[in-house]
Symmetry: C2
Subunit: 225 residues, 2 copies
């Protein structure tokens, strides 16, 4: 790898981590806004998404410029490709945070449903998966990426319990159906945030091992290099 | 473009169209299974997803091999990149069809909710968007791709009406809450299928014009080449 290329790659990584910081903050603020019935915080998440979108556009353009300039091959090419894929996932996570914030605004008005603490724990687990997947990316550590994929089971358990809770709330009275549906949607959004963290982890395994592991988490794939 | 490269690109396109055919079939079967309460058809969609996953893996590997072999630049590089992005979207559309089919199985048992015809129309519109986005890809037609993005408004209108219907069903009786939630989920899944068709259309505009249009549908971007 040339020095110039290495410097460009480091810059890309820094931008990815900065974007991930924004997304993590958005997810936390959005789920906190649900529990606190805080419409101001929710509105801030919605308007903050423009910044995440701009970061995505800049990052994708940077990747294309680096591809055009250095014409990297093999692992360097995969490094750029991985940044493009991760960036796409992060942007969608930002959109999901907006979806949560929009529903937080609906939920702030009566009739209210009970928002269990477990929702915030679930969101914490999902963003932790994202953070660990990005650590695995920076360290090019496939084992750490596989550990992230394994964490999805806990989020699934959170999901199942919270969905049951939302359904119980809806059954209590027809008045609560809209709020229960909003809560259900929020839970599904957090679940999808965790799915995107899993995607990132899969991309890291691809980066390190050069083999596509999507749909084949459990297979042992020998690294080709 | 060398003859060899052109042949490889044509092969890639054929594979993408074949994969899209599978996905379209899965979406239609899954939503038909909802209306017909046909658990056999739904089960077939779930088990058929393995094939879609395999097609994705083969396509992604083909793209990497072509990149390594020909080291394309500029528009040819974007052609391969676009195939990789489209393939990812098609695979997720297949997953969404599976999600619909799984809920179709839940909905087949009483207590039942009314499934409006509009659900199948909505799914038809979403798969039509996908087909037109792929036509735009094959013809490298940015105007056609922009038309696809415009079609999303109709799907949004379907979504709004069907969500209201699902909520009304849930309000009719606590017994119907689970089925209403399943119907709500199905509608949201179809909406996301249309979102993926929009993604594909955006990728086609990027391919043709070399500029990233995500989050900037309405701006006129001058083609750089």
């Amino acid at each position: 790898m040339t020095k110039h290329m290495q410097r460009d790659l480091e810059r890309l990584r820094d931008s990815v981590l900065r974007m991930a910081g924004y997304v993590e903050h958005a997810v936390h603020s959005a789920t906190r806004a649900v529990s606190d019935r805080d419409t101001d915080a929710a509105t801030a998440v919605v308007s903050g998404d423009t910044e995440i979108d701009e970061l995505e556009n800049h990052l994708q353009e940077d990747c294309l410029n680096i591809l055009a300039l250095h014409q990297p091959v093999a692992k360097d090419l995969r490094r750029i490709g991985t940044v493009m894929l991760i960036t796409t996932d992060l942007e969608r996570m930002g959109d999901l945070a907006v979806g949560i914030a929009e529903r937080a605004i609906e939920l702030a008005h009566p009739p209210r449903v009970v928002v269990p603490d477990r929702l915030h724990q679930m969101a914490g687990r999902a963003t932790r998966m994202m953070r660990l997947a990005l650590d695995a990316f920076v360290n090019e550590d496939a084992a750490a990426a596989r550990a992230v994929i394994g964490m999805d089971d806990e989020v699934d358990a959170d999901n199942d319990e919270l969905v049951l809770h939302a359904i119980e709330e809806m059954k209590r009275s027809p008045d609560r159906v809209e709020a229960g549906v909003a809560l259900f949607s929020i839970v599904r959004h957090v679940e999808r945030i965790a799915d995107h963290a899993t995607n990132i982890a899969e991309d890291v395994i691809f980066l390190v091992e050069g083999a596509i592991v999507r749909h084949h988490h459990d297979e042992v794939i020998p690294p080709p290099e």
